[in-house]
């Protein structure tokens, strides 16, 4: 029995990190939005590691924040520890990482969702997406409710045909022992969407009370009150520590003795798992020469004794997991609360999407998050934000919002997803970004806040903070460029000598002087050479001055890159008409349908010669 339940501009299916951002963005942009989740309690669930950020991921969170997304604000509200990683390796790769209170993270997000205007929350399982003339029209729940909607954002994570595996035990299920979504996967196949199958895994959780911390090394957070969001107040909450221990020769012996029971090696698990997050048994087998692997014991929250064993994700049988834990220093008498498991799930092959994350198969259907073959909360949230924005823009008949590889990590990720063959769960890495030095976490606001404002996602409060910061930066830069010293200046001479750096030969500005590695901006302020300012602004000035040479080098590279990106390929291009393309290129171009010559050039199998031919064809067509 199906009944008409209502009408929405945008329907978001799935309440994980992607779904929350998508729903909030669409509603904030003025769309009447429905968020459907199988469990309200599990909104913004962190079924795996209790942390957010780290290399490349921190940059994503900052970008989400600058565009008016929620993840940065939400983790600032619910973190139990923050650390800056990669300090000393350069501004491009410095990354903030937070340990999260999982439960608080979810609770805060639910509050925000429920408080959002134009956004309705619904607990239900969507079984069908119906389209009319190749355009989405309805979603239908298991209980027969039919909602009419103009666009649908599908963010169903690892629930599609989810299957849990731990040793000989396996059953259909979603993460955290939720129900899987089986019918929706069949429905997608029926619509002509191609699916693949991936695998991921999670470690066992243990009881804090049974851990002997004296045998582990404490990993405290930084004393500095860091924050992800450009608008959060600095966190003053007490930080909780993580603890470092390691596997032993005994641990590895236990694994090898039971390897015949490991689904990873018996052929039970067929989905492809991520290389950056291998199961513990895979590490023992593949890196046999290493007799120890480090393991981090991380709290899952302030109000729980459950702890996460980072580095020990496994699908070994429960009894073996127990033995493995007991062979680890500090965990000899540990009590296991939850068993580790592997989960296999269907994902939508992302090359079927456009750069806007709209499906090329069904119009008005957007996909985001783990369903697109990615992994990571941050990757999911960033896609959710973009899918939500574009679903709203489509409703409003506006041009899609696409970030270039030269503008944001979000652009790098989505371009990779739709252009390259994703053959393992995709994780963003700083090494995937060509223009890393421009895409820093510290300048995400300078790169993106204005775009967020144009979209209608940046509210007046954020906008006024941003404008004040930008004005202060510009003013300070002007002051530093205008303030100059001559070699005759004795005070400066003494300062340089004290810093063991060469004396001046010519007149030099403060801006140029700051380029010297020994010179720090705070020294200028102490000596009254320039007015003081907020530490974020000073940090920004220091980076912009010290790395100016390298930054300019990357800007030049970006100019060359953008020449190819600006050559758009027409939507109606018929590749069969383009003579003398190689067969492989022809097939890939037809499948991926790149939006520009630049994107085409990044497809594996499309050679520089093919690009020339394509370009020639375009020019001829234009004439």
């Amino acid at each position: 029995m199906i009944y008409e339940a209502g009408k929405y501009d945008v329907a978001v299916i799935g309440g994980g990190h992607a779904g929350c951002e998508a729903a909030l963005a669409a509603a904030r942009m003025g769309c009447h939005t429905l968020l459907v989740t199988m469990s309200v309690e599990y909104i913004a669930l962190m079924p795996c590691n209790p942390s957010i950020g780290g290399p490349a991921k921190a940059q994503l969170v900052r970008e989400i924040d600058a565009l008016g997304g929620e993840m940065g604000i939400n983790i600032d509200k619910s973190s139990i520890q923050m650390r800056m990683i990669n300090t000393g390796k350069g501004p491009a790769v410095q990354a903030l990482r937070a340990q999260a209170d999982k439960h608080e993270y979810g609770r805060e997000m639910i509050k925000t969702i429920l408080g959002q205007e134009r956004l309705d929350l619904l607990m239900a399982e969507v079984e069908n997406i119906e389209s009319e003339a190749g355009q989405v029209k309805f979603i239908i729940t298991r209980t027969g409710a039919r909602y009419e909607c103009q666009t649908v954002v599908l963010t169903s994570g690892t629930y599609l045909k989810g299957r849990i595996i731990a040793g000989e035990v396996m059953y259909d299920g979603g993460p955290g022992n939720q129900f899987p979504a089986a019918k929706l996967a069949d429905n997608l196949r029926e619509m002509g969407i191609k699916l693949g199958r991936f695998k991921t895994g999670t470690p066992p959780r243990i009881d804090r009370k049974s851990v002997d911390f004296s045998k582990t090394i404490e990993q405290p957070g930084d004393e500095i009150p860091w924050r992800f969001s450009f608008i959060s107040p600095p966190s003053r909450q007490k930080q909780l520590s993580c603890w470092l221990t390691h596997s032993t020769a005994e641990t590895h012996r236990i694994v090898m003795d039971n390897i015949h029971r490991a689904p990873m090696f018996t052929g039970v698990i067929k989905g492809i798992g991520p290389r950056y997050c291998p199961s513990f048994e895979a590490k023992v087998v593949q890196f046999a020469h290493k007799n120890s692997h480090q393991l981090f014991i991380e709290p899952e929250g302030r109000d729980t004794d459950e702890m996460y064993v980072q580095g020990l994700n496994t699908s070994l049988p429960e009894d073996v997991q127990m033995q493995v834990l007991h062979s680890i220093p500090g965990l000899e008498k540990v009590h296991m609360i939850r068993t580790g498991y592997a989960i296999e799930y269907d994902y939508v092959i992302p090359s079927q999407a456009k750069l806007s994350l709209e499906s090329m198969v069904v119009k008005g259907l957007f996909t985001a998050g783990q369903i697109n073959g990615t992994s990571g909360y941050e990757e999911a949230a960033a896609q959710g934000l973009i899918a939500g924005i574009n679903a709203a823009l489509k409703v409003q008949n506006r041009e899609p919002f696409i970030l270039k590889r030269s503008e944001a990590y979000i652009g790098v990720m989505i371009d990779d997803l739709v252009t390259k063959a994703v053959d393992e769960p995709y994780r963003l890495l700083t090494s995937r970004a060509e223009y890393r030095l421009l895409l820093r976490q510290d300048n995400a606001d300078l790169r993106l806040t204005e775009k967020g404002r144009q979209l209608g996602l940046v509210d007046d409060y954020r906008w006024s903070l941003f404008q004040a910061k930008r004005a202060a930066l510009e003013e300070a830069t002007r002051v530093m460029q205008r303030t100059t010293f001559t070699p005759a200046n004795a005070e400066v001479g003494q300062y340089l000598a004290a810093k063991k750096t060469a004396p001046l030969h010519d007149r030099i500005s403060l801006w140029e002087l700051l380029r010297r590695p020994e010179v720090k901006i705070n020294d200028f302020i102490e000596r009254g050479w320039m007015p003081s300012s907020d530490s974020e602004i000073l940090g920004q000035l220091e980076i912009q001055s010290k790395y100016e040479g390298y930054i300019n080098k990357q800007r030049e590279q970006v100019q060359r890159f953008e020449r190819l990106e600006s050559k758009k390929l027409p939507v109606d291009i018929n590749y069969d008409e383009v003579y003398s393309l190689s067969n492989e290129a022809l097939q890939k171009l037809k499948e991926i349908r790149p939006e520009s010559i630049g994107q085409a050039s990044r497809i594996a199998g499309v050679s520089p010669a093919d690009i020339n031919i394509l370009w020639i064809y375009l020019e001829k067509r234009r004439n």
């Binding site: 290399p55 790769v93 291998p278 700083t430 010669a609």
Partner: protein, 457 residues
Amino acid sequence: MINDAIAAVATPPGEGGIGIIRLSGQGSIDCISKIFVPFKEVKLTERKGFTLNLGWIIDHDGTKIDEVLLGIMRAPHSYTGEDVAEINCHGGSMPMRRCLQRCLDAGLRLAEPGEFTKRAFLNGRLDLSQAEAVIDVIRAKTDRGLKLALQQLEGKNQYINAIEDRLLRLNAMLEASLDFPEDVGDLDYEEAASILTQIQAGLDQVIEAGRRNEIYRDGIEVVICGKPNVGKSSLLNALLKKEKAIVTDIPGTTRDVVEDYINIRGIPVKIMDTAGIRLTEDFVEKMGVEKSREVMEKADLLIFILDVSAGINQEDLDIYRDIDRERLIVLVNKEDIEEKKISAAEIEVLFKGVKVIRGSVKNEMGIEELEKAVEEKILSGAVPGDGIEIMVNLRQKDALLRSRAQVVNALHTLREVPLDCLGIDIWGALETLGEISGKTLKEDVIDRIFHDFCIGK
């Protein structure tokens, strides 16, 4: 990229009377007009199609490189259907190479193998009614062109691959320490420096091997010098094994530079005999002397002949004074004559560190030794273990040099800049090297991280 102006040698490789360099594409005639000076007052850019123009291809500084006949064809009435210019230059590989280099300097791009044909097809100059068949033909040609290029690179592959592999390893080390700091820790600077040094040496080897091969392809210039009547012309003849220069016993008979092409152990050699350089009032001879000095300055190698029966006098020393010792081989001639006026001790003192051969041109004594010395001298500096058979074309050489520059920069800044900045050069070196094989290597770096390091949380 579309219709951009391209240039390439259109005639088969090797020595020929005439060589043709073909230019095609938008702006090709503008480009050529920058480096071509016509004999008659004509404006190339205004010339109609199917016209021939006699003139000079000139160098940066306006000096003449070669006298050429330049054909102009206007789009669409040309082989490619685009504006085309064809330079008919002298067929030696030197003038052709220099003319081509000037074209590239003037903004033309070196054509890919088969690119003229490809353009001809795409511009509809080939019969499209038989499109399917034509595509096959063109495919075959392009593929063959590609295969030829690949063959050319075949010997190289293992060397470039070895460098590429080291660069991949280095990139993976760096990137892993940035993306997985807790698994991998900090970059091992000692190892990074050692890998960079190996990469630089590897690039040097390949560049040098390319240069050696250039020698085999383009040849060298050798000048025979010495005071009159020491046997310069006889040596030229002995090397040529035919009479070309006038050989007499009267000093100063050879009045101009006499030149010819010979083959020394597979190396094409343009060999020149100079007029005897000596102080003289004779006007004609004076011209010859000046020309000789000019030629000697430009030569890759000089053979300085002494007459053992005449001894070493001021005249010899005057010539010797002006010679660059790096490029020198000394031949002590006429060793068949009993009366020797040059002692071993004298040679030892005067030519310390210089290759000296004692022989007699007349009796063909020492000729083989001399040829061997020429080969050794020219190939010296080239790396031992000469297995590296690489043909490096201009584009590849350019990529190798740019990659090397980035490696050198990374070495210089290794401990001075943060890793993210260092990464720009280390990745740049790999990316640039990838241009040679047309590979994009970003994914390979990521693969390498997971291969080399145990990553995982």
